[in-house]
């Protein structure tokens, strides 16, 4: 397996088969006298911003601090990763992870209250 080719920027799937974000970053742990190992998958807009430029990340964090939002990092321990093939499948429940708060907030306050938001057509696959 090649971390950069097969894991980074891959679709993360949780244990319920839910698409739970992309693998935005990979954290490697350097250990004295031993080979480095993958610690966790690092997810979220901060990581994306950092990959473009560290300055963008600082700017994003300052802006967040100003509106008073605390950021809980969304990290998936490597030990939870079950399968890497086409997608990265991890033994987590995305709904309980910090990355889910925007989705939950939108579902409860914006999308949910609109009539018809519960109508599903999932049985109508052609």
């Amino acid at each position: 397996m090649d971390l950069l080719l097969d894991v980074l920027d891959q679709q993360l799937i949780d244990k319920h088969g839910r698409k739970s974000g992309k693998v935005d970053g990979i954290a490697i742990e350097l250990r004295e006298g031993k080979p480095p190992r993958v610690a966790y998958l690092d997810m979220g807009t901060d990581v994306l911003a950092r990959r473009l430029s560290p300055r963008l990340e600082r700017w994003l964090q300052r802006w967040r601090a100003r509106i008073g939002r605390e950021v809980v990092p969304f990290q998936v321990p490597w030990s939870k990763v079950k399968k890497v093939h086409l997608t990265v499948d991890a033994d987590i429940d995305a709904v309980k992870e910090p990355g889910y708060h925007i989705e939950r907030w939108l579902a409860e306050h914006v999308i949910g209250p609109i009539p018809g938001s519960q109508i599903s057509h999932e049985d109508k696959q052609r």
Binding site: D9, L48, I111, Q118, I119, S120, H121, Q125, R126
Partner: protein
């Protein structure tokens, strides 16, 4: 039998997806100013989009990845963020232009200024996506899209000079008005090679659960579907060439545009023109709106799907809801829908290489496509497409200033 049905639906989708405000406006403008001389550009653009759509469908069927998924994965966030952001901006503008097209059709029929229709049209658009299933949305736009065949009927009934029509398929440089000629040629390419169509098609293939078994269907659908759409666009150009050009009416005076069909079909022609314009643009609106939501969801890895209840993929639903609102506001503020259309087509061309070059590279990637990688025909065409769009992208801005 099931495959026949799939092909039929795909072909209809092709007509619906291919023909939008851009294709109608650029073809009509070309016909009104240069007669059928730019037909070769439509033919060339069609050949390109057939290959590109086939590739997007093949990628989805073989790798189960949509184009956006695969591009981010293969080229990384740091690269993909560029075509992604460009695409979002261009799509919002194109959506605004398409909404403008629907509103213009309503203006023709009612006489009330198009601006008043932007919000109602946006609401109807949103409602269909909010409540409908993917199959419903796809089939409804496809079947309604058949009304655009009126342009083919109109073109034939106008008894064009078939010799000059045939001559239009031979690439030629104009004797006069060079910059304007090339500007329209470039806009036609921008209108036909729509990135939204490519992204939408690949997402649709995944929504419909395509697998390797669908590869043949994919090839037929891409060819016949896009080919049919192209014939309609050519019909538009010939209609304009036989009605607007002799009357000396340019497209700047778009209030005269219904003449394109009313000359051949009388009062029915007038209403058919409005209906064809409205339906084609509305179909495109649905595709672009959904595509914006797909693109964002696939880039950031959210749950997505038109069949899932909005509450279950709230971010996906929020994106299309927001996109419709923003685009409707752009329609109202931007003024002249025709100018907006031509401008967005040129803008599309400018950002095309950012998508198409990596896409062709991706189509040669063993990891994604295995033995279904591009063969030499697709790769030759791929090189032709990429070189063409790079040249066009370089000239897009200068030509817009000189000829737009």
């Amino acid at each position: 039998m099931k495959n026949v049905l799939k092909v039929a639906l795909g072909v209809l989708t092709g007509i619906g997806g291919f023909l939008d405000v851009g294709a109608i406006a650029t073809s009509a403008e070309a016909g009104a100013v240069f007669g059928p001389r730019l037909l070769w550009v439509v033919a060339f653009g069609t050949l390109c989009i057939i290959f590109l759509v086939e590739m997007a469908g093949r990628l989805a069927a073989v790798s189960k990845h949509t184009l956006a998924d695969a591009l981010r994965e293969r080229f990384g966030w740091k690269y993909f963020v560029i075509p992604f952001s460009c695409e979002v901006v261009v799509d919002l503008l194109v959506l605004a232009a398409e909404i403008g097209g629907v509103c213009l059709a309503l203006q023709f029929v009612t006489g009330i200024s198009y601006r008043w229709f932007a919000i109602p049209v946006a609401l109807l658009l949103w409602l269909l996506i909010w409540l409908g299933s993917f199959a419903f949305v796809e089939d409804a736009t496809s079947i309604l899209g058949l009304v655009t065949l009126a342009f083919v009927v109109g073109a034939i009934k106008m008894r064009p000079d078939w010799h000059s029509v045939a001559a239009g398929f031979v690439p030629s440089a104009p004797a006069h008005d060079g910059p304007h000629y090339w500007y329209i040629a470039l806009s036609i390419i921008g209108a036909i090679i729509s990135p939204y169509l490519i992204y939408f098609y690949s997402s649709g293939a995944v929504e419909d659960g395509w697998s390797v078994k669908e590869l043949r269907v994919n090839r037929v659908v891409a060819t016949i579907g896009m080919g049919f759409g192209s014939v309609v666009a050519m019909g538009v150009m010939i209609c304009a060439a036989t009605t607007l050009l002799p009357a000396g009416i340019g497209m700047d005076d778009y209030a005269q545009a219904p003449l394109m069909l009313s000359r051949a079909l009388g009062m029915w022609g007038f209403y058919l023109f409005a209906a064809a314009l409205g339906v084609a643009c509305f179909g495109a609106c649905i595709e672009i709106t959904l595509e914006l939501a797909y693109l964002n969801a696939q880039t950031f890895g959210w749950n997505w799907g038109e069949n899932v209840a909005p509450k279950k993929n709230a971010r996906f639903a929020a994106i299309y809801t927001g996109a419709v609102l923003v685009a409707a506001c752009i329609t109202i503020v931007a003024g002249d829908p025709l100018k907006l259309t031509l401008f967005t087509m040129a803008l599309t061309v400018t950002v095309l290489p950012l998508l198409l070059l990596p896409m062709i590279m991706l189509m040669n990637d063993r990891k994604f496509l295995g033995k279904h990688r591009n063969g030499w025909i697709s790769n030759t065409m791929g090189v032709v497409i990429v070189v063409t769009v790079i040249v066009l992208a370089i000239f897009a801005i200068p030509l817009q200033i000189l000829g737009g």
